[in-house]
């Protein structure tokens, strides 16, 4: 029960087979009260309820700074504290450079990077007032590899940006007792893959991964738990590859 009494916000957490949900569930198992934010209001409420009655699901489009501030205030009014923020909201897109549009670029950049920027800025004043907090940003192996499987150049760029944002926040916020780290998942078997890659395709990808399988959401959720717990008290500004060795092969 590493997170007993703590309050954690997980953005992009409504999809029941996703990283955000698995992370929220893991945190709840660790004793935390979780707040699931999602652009899909009904799904956020339903998912939070599925984890337990003490958890909260709220609608939030992280691309909108004003909405982020209102939502964070709502969390503080309900629970009185925020200890953890997981910036997981994001979309992937495999369009190649010349097949991408301005709208594609805006969608991917805003959901991932602007979303993390907005939500972090919304929670930091509170975390600063308590001189404690842990932020995790969801990057991707695509940032280092340049995408190529399910993410186009704009996706890879967005993930690179969010990882560097975590480092900069780590540097700036360390004196306030706030840690910020990123996780770089490899290929995770979630709903994001549905319709984009079939079982044969997944097997081909798995064959090229040293550990021989795709990630499951629990792999990422476990890494999030480590990075927000006291076990990582001296870790900040790190990018933790959870990719089965894909990042080096």
């Amino acid at each position: 029960m590493q997170l007993i009494d703590q309050v954690a916000i997980v953005t992009g957490g409504a999809s029941l087979r996703g990283i955000g949900w698995a992370t929220a569930k893991r945190f709840a198992d660790g004793g935390a009260r979780v707040v699931i934010l999602d652009i899909d209001a009904a799904a956020a409420v339903q998912t939070a309820r599925a984890i337990g009655p003490q958890h909260l699901g709220l609608a939030c489009d992280v691309r909108d700074e004003a909405v982020c501030k209102v939502v964070v205030q709502r969390v503080l009014d309900t629970f009185g504290r925020i200890d953890i923020l997981v910036n997981n909201a994001g979309v992937s897109q495999s369009h190649r450079l010349m097949d991408s549009t301005q709208a594609d670029y805006d969608l991917v950049m805003d959901a991932s990077v602007r979303g993390a920027f907005n939500m972090s800025r919304a929670v930091v004043p509170h975390m600063r007032s308590r001189q404690r907090g842990a932020i995790v940003c969801m990057g991707s192996v695509a940032a280092q590899r340049g995408g190529g499987i399910l993410g186009g150049p704009h996706y890879a760029a967005a993930k690179g940006a969010i990882q560097t944002l975590a480092k900069a926040m780590a540097r700036e916020l360390a004196p306030d007792g706030i840690r910020a780290n990123a996780i770089a998942p490899g290929m995770v078997d979630t709903d994001l893959l549905v319709g984009k890659i079939d079982d044969a395709g997944k097997r081909r990808v798995a064959d090229g991964i040293p550990l021989g399988r795709l990630a499951v959401p629990a792999d990422i959720a476990n890494a999030c738990l480590f990075l927000v717990s006291d076990q990582s008290a001296y870790i900040t500004g790190a990018v933790l590859d959870v990719s089965g060795g894909m990042h080096i092969h």
Binding site: A215, S232, A238, V242
Partner: protein, 244 residues
């Protein structure tokens, strides 16, 4: 207590049988005794093994003993290392070679020997204690140390790729400055002050904080993590030159 001893304690507390291997067999015996006593005098909780990672024969002998006596090795933490600083222009060749021998070749040979045992059970965890000095030139004088730790990080990737099919993960931990007997001997007061200021968290790390990262990497929770160099450095690598 150094990083290695702290790791031994945490592994024992997690329920593993711990083999404390060190050049200094007296110190290793003392650590093993302490572990047995703190574990309710469980007599097989911990044992000491003499090991000079700078000599291939010593490594071969140690792992032969492990095989014959315990029949298995599930986790290896390569923590043995040496560090001496000299200006680059005068860096003694013999110290450079010895540092590479102990820090890199020692890691290689221990990992090979341990992995041969891990392969039998198709499960294993290797954690190599590297350093932020392997990724950045920390201060001056670390020609041998920094280069050796960079090599350990690269070696870890090679291990990870080739051992993955056997169910073995290999990862490196890159500590920033840690308060240990080694740094108390190596770092001058001025250096400690300057280094702590260069860290966003403004302090050295503790052996407990390094051990926590090792324990995570050897746990089932980290079964999809391999070939990484995890910095445990208070934000040092993420930061640039402080005060600018």
């Amino acid at each position: 207590m150094g990083i290695g001893a702290e790791v031994c304690e945490r592994l024992a507390a997690a329920g593993h049988q711990v083999l404390v291997a060190d050049l200094d067999i007296v110190a290793a015996e003392a650590t093993a005794l302490r572990l047995r006593e703190s574990g309710g005098h469980a007599i097989d909780r911990a044992f000491a093994i003499p090991l000079d990672v700078g000599r291939p024969e010593s490594i071969a002998q140690a792992f032969d003993h492990v095989d014959r006596t315990f029949g298995r090795c599930d986790i290896l933490v390569n923590c043995a290392g040496i560090a001496k600083v000299f200006p680059f222009l005068d860096f003694p060749l013999d110290n450079f070679l010895e540092t590479m021998n102990v820090n890199v070749t020692g890691t290689l040979l221990c990992a090979q020997a341990a992995a041969r045992l891990m392969v039998r059970r198709r499960w294993g965890r290797i954690v190599n204690i590297a350093s932020v000095a392997g990724l950045r030139a920390v201060g001056s004088g670390r020609t041998a140390y920094g280069t050796s730790k960079g090599a350990v990080i690269a070696l870890t990737r090679q291990m990870a790729v080739e051992l993955a099919e056997h169910g073995i993960t290999a990862n490196a931990v890159a500590p920033g400055p840690v308060d240990t007997p080694m740094t108390r001997a190596l770092h001058t007061v001025q250096f400690r002050e300057a280094y702590a200021k260069a860290i966003p968290m403004n302090r050295y790390g503790s052996t407990a904080e390094i051990a926590s990262a090792v324990l995570y990497l050897v746990s089932e929770d980290a079964s999809y993590i391999s070939g990484v160099a995890l910095p445990v450095d208070g934000g040092f690598l993420a930061s640039g030159a402080r005060g600018l």
